[in-house]
Symmetry: C2
Subunit: 231 residues, 2 copies
């Protein structure tokens, strides 16, 4: 590292501690602003979608609790992928020095994974695909289930597999780098932000993938049986 | 770069030209060995699978040309993912200095993408998932179609989306690095190895994804219609 670079690098809370950031402005909002925005927006969406899914006017048929919860999940995914990750996809170069609300949310999250403030190549690519592909497709999945469209389980499978693969790569690349971009074992930054928040997108998509697999295979089995009778 | 590192770095045919490799042994087999192995093994698999798919003993029903070709594709994918990419997944650290047949194949391919001789983190992760997930699942897809298993189109969808997402990330990460790991516009290395060989895994999975989508939606539509009649 030359003297010039040393002079330009600024102090920051990210890991590894010798990471060089040229532009970084500490958040001027407290952490609970970001967290309460994320969780209250998700809770509001969950409630609205829960009520929408309960309305009999869509198809006339009542919906089971598990299915209603799955639809709520896709609504929350549409919001997080489209808005929060969409922001990262568009403004990842400005985030470290920016004070917009969503930039502050990302600067806070980056304490658990500094790849979000260094424009890490894989992270930008994966997040961009998540925002622009799985985001809109999540919302389409919500609509597809509300209207009982015939491709509703195909959409559930596509979105869930996309989320699962992206997240496995996200953990796997960081595992191979020795979890260098986080303060290992830190209860909030490592365990909650990095491990728990991302583990959700391993566990829930895995369940929904198996659920879609079961429904689609059952439909194909029924169609095969009808065709076999005709022959 | 220190004097010591300069002394340790060895000359090589990869891009960017200032890339430092510590261990690199040039191939002692001619290029056509690798290429003819790849294409003749694929052709042999195609022929065998084509014949196997034509055998009426499986389900009694004849199979259309397009479906037989799709099954052949998954057999070739099983071989390429499982054997060739499986080798990379296991031996990526040794490949630059190794003279095993498959290591020589990878050293040759790396002229079109040097990420394969520098243990690039994303490349290793993506290839490992391709080898150990999409490889076995490709072979299961072959079997699922031969035996007309009810989840055959679900498997086609899963494998195709996995291949497509992995390949989109593969191109996208390299695009964002300015195609630095290849000699841009080189007819063999850039256009054939890097662009064409990988474009196959964008085009064919996209077609098969839409095909699976159509079949699964049709099956779900038929089942929904039966259930609606019963109510």
């Amino acid at each position: 590292m030359g003297l010039e670079a040393e002079a330009l690098a600024v102090p920051h809370p990210y890991w590894p501690r010798d990471l060089e950031l040229r532009r970084y402005v500490p958040n001027d909002r407290p952490t609970w602003h970001s967290l309460s925005f994320l969780f209250s927006a998700s809770a509001a969406l969950l409630t609205l979608t829960w009520l929408a899914a309960g309305w009999r006017g869509w198809t006339g048929a009542p919906m089971r609790t598990g299915r209603r919860l799955a639809i709520c999940w896709f609504a929350i995914c549409g919001f997080i992928h489209g808005v929060i990750e969409g922001w990262f996809s568009l403004y990842h170069t400005e985030i470290p020095g920016d004070q917009c609300f969503l930039s502050q949310l990302w600067k806070e999250y980056a304490k658990g994974d500094s790849r979000y403030v260094i424009e890490d190549n894989f992270t930008v690519c994966m997040e961009t695909i998540t925002a622009w592909a799985w985001g809109p497709l999540s919302l389409w999945t919500v609509l597809a289930f509300l209207q009982r469209q015939p491709h509703r389980y195909v959409l559930q499978l596509v979105v869930s597999l996309g989320q699962l693969y992206g997240d496995v790569l996200y953990f796997y690349t960081e595992y191979r780098e020795g979890f260098a971009h986080s303060e290992m074992w830190h209860p909030l930054y490592f365990w909650f932000y990095f491990v728990f928040m991302n583990a959700l997108w391993i566990i829930i998509p895995s369940i929904l993938l198996l659920d879609a697999w079961g429904h689609l295979s059952a439909a194909q089995r029924a169609l095969d049986a009808v065709k076999a009778k005709k022959h």
